[in-house]
């Protein structure tokens, strides 16, 4: 027998919730410690947001960005709508609702990405 005080040992079943939450670090702790898993979480959010931003830029380039080329190669100058030449109508008015729609769509999707990320990180338990 030794003189060392006997420390109390807690015996739990590895199948209980308490055991698992102790065994695994929370996702937020992984991010705090900048472990490889934590970085993967951060990168997944960054990629999702950057992809979304890329879509917006592509849509912008394919519409507004192509207008000068369209004016160059197509005889749009002769087209009139409501008595106004088409380039004036597109550049003076038409571009703005498009910009607003893209912005609104982006804000919605970006917030959804973040909500999904919060769910992912704060999920204490994996699927049973």
């Amino acid at each position: 027998m030794t003189d060392e005080p006997v420390t109390r040992v807690r015996i739990t079943s590895p199948r209980t919730l308490a055991a698992r939450s102790r065994a695994r670090r929370s996702n937020a702790a992984e991010i705090d410690a900048l472990t490889r898993l934590g970085e993967v979480y951060v990168q997944s959010l960054m990629r999702a947001q950057l992809r979304l931003a890329g879509y917006v830029v592509l849509l912008l380039a394919a519409t507004v960005g192509l207008l000068p080329v369209a004016f160059l190669v197509l005889p749009v100058d002769r087209l009139h709508l409501f008595g106004v030449p088409l380039p004036w109508l597109l550049l003076g008015v038409g571009v703005y609702p498009l910009l607003l729609t893209l912005a609104w769509w982006y804000v919605r999707r970006a917030e959804q990405n973040e909500a999904a990320f919060v769910d992912l990180v704060e999920r204490r338990e994996g699927p049973p």
């Binding site: 804000v107 917030e111 990320f117 919060v118």
Partner: protein, 501 residues
Amino acid sequence: MREVTSLAAVIVVAAATLGVGVFGLRVSRTTSDFFVASRRVGPFLNASAIGGEYLSAASFLGVAGVVLLRGVDMLWYPIGWTAGYLLLLVFVAAPLRRSGAYTLPDFAEFRVESQAARQVASWLVCLIGALYLVPQFEGAGLTLSAVTGAPTWVGAVLVAFVVLANVVAGGMRSITLVQAFQYWIKLCALLVPALILWVVWHHDGSPTRNLHSSDWVEPLQGPHATYLTYSLILATFLGTMGLPHVVVRFYTNPDGRSARRTTLAVLAMLSLFYLLPTAYGAFGRIYASDLVASGRTDSVVLELPDRVFGGSGAPLLTALLGAGAFAAFLSTSSGLVVSISGVLSQDVLSRRFGSVTGFRIGGVLAAGGALLLAAGTRGLPVAHAVELAFAVAASTFCPLLLLGIWWRGLTARGAIVGMVGGGILSGAAVLAVMVGAHAGGWPGALLAQPALATVPVAFALMVGVSLADRARIPLHVGRAMVRLHLPEAVDVDRGTYEPIA
């Protein structure tokens, strides 16, 4: 009669601006109040403030003037000045707010962990700020002399005085209220006369004289038109995010999410506003086409009421437009003086003075310096200096922000070389314009719209030097990315960076 009414309107705007500012004084006492209004500003108020700050003399008077002069190609200016906020929204708004930095130099220091990068960014803020501030003062002088006949220096001094009184007295809190108030003044000042003009035009039988000449109505006129148009698009789309007085506004949002919503509201407000200068340009073509020959197209907005109806309504409308133009000079100048003095107080004066005193001294230096510059460079094309400010911002701060936020590989050396290189190249174009150099052919086109050449070079320098300098990737880049991108709802360690000691 007209002079008296206009002078009264200008004085009312100046006094109201001072009044709102003094009201703000009672609530702003601490450093944090001075810089960012304690970050308690909601999206609608904040968006009004951004709109109020952003819509400068170039938007209020300049766009209508260049549309009258050169037609449909000039509509790309208001489009670019609006679309710049879309790119700011998708790449910069939320991360920049989450970075917690107050100014662009703060961001540079936080992200690449280098005092040298901070210094370079500070100088660039002063350069871009001055490029933008000087034309506001000059425009104020021209406007006051157009509507009241006063000598041109009076307007510049008046604007400098009101801005300085506000900045020194109240700092950012009062500026937020003042700016928000000024967006709505500017919108009404342009909208009401436009509606009346439209009714009169309709009553006249909707004349369309002078509207059909092909060089005005058809796009892409003149040599190198396609290059110039795309370069203009690039400068304005990417330059907006690098304007120091715009970026400083994002710190007044409570969190990243509201920064996005604020930007969306800004887009809506700008879209509404920018329908109007086009209408003034077209009305000017019908009713005031002689301004083109006399080279006074910048005053078309102010002169239209007199041309269309000489009766008793004209002085009132002219006064309203003059007041709106003054609101434009006051608000943009205030924003610029706030951001320049913020930088000066943190990087130049803070060692000798307290933060708030430093901010006040910085304001005096910024406004006084710009006033002297405006006196020294009289006759510089007003709108063009503003365009070049966008080109410089797009060639320096835009790559810093985009790469800093989205690329882990950015190093301090890369950031510095990119900013200095882009700044020198685009600055050379600025200098050429200032000394009045004229070049024909491609060199002339490059100097007039440098962005399409200088922005890719700045990006290439920043990426290339950072890749060569891979061993010096900032130590805390992982933590910085967490801070920039993770929503506030997640409880994580965001590092210890604090912009102000």
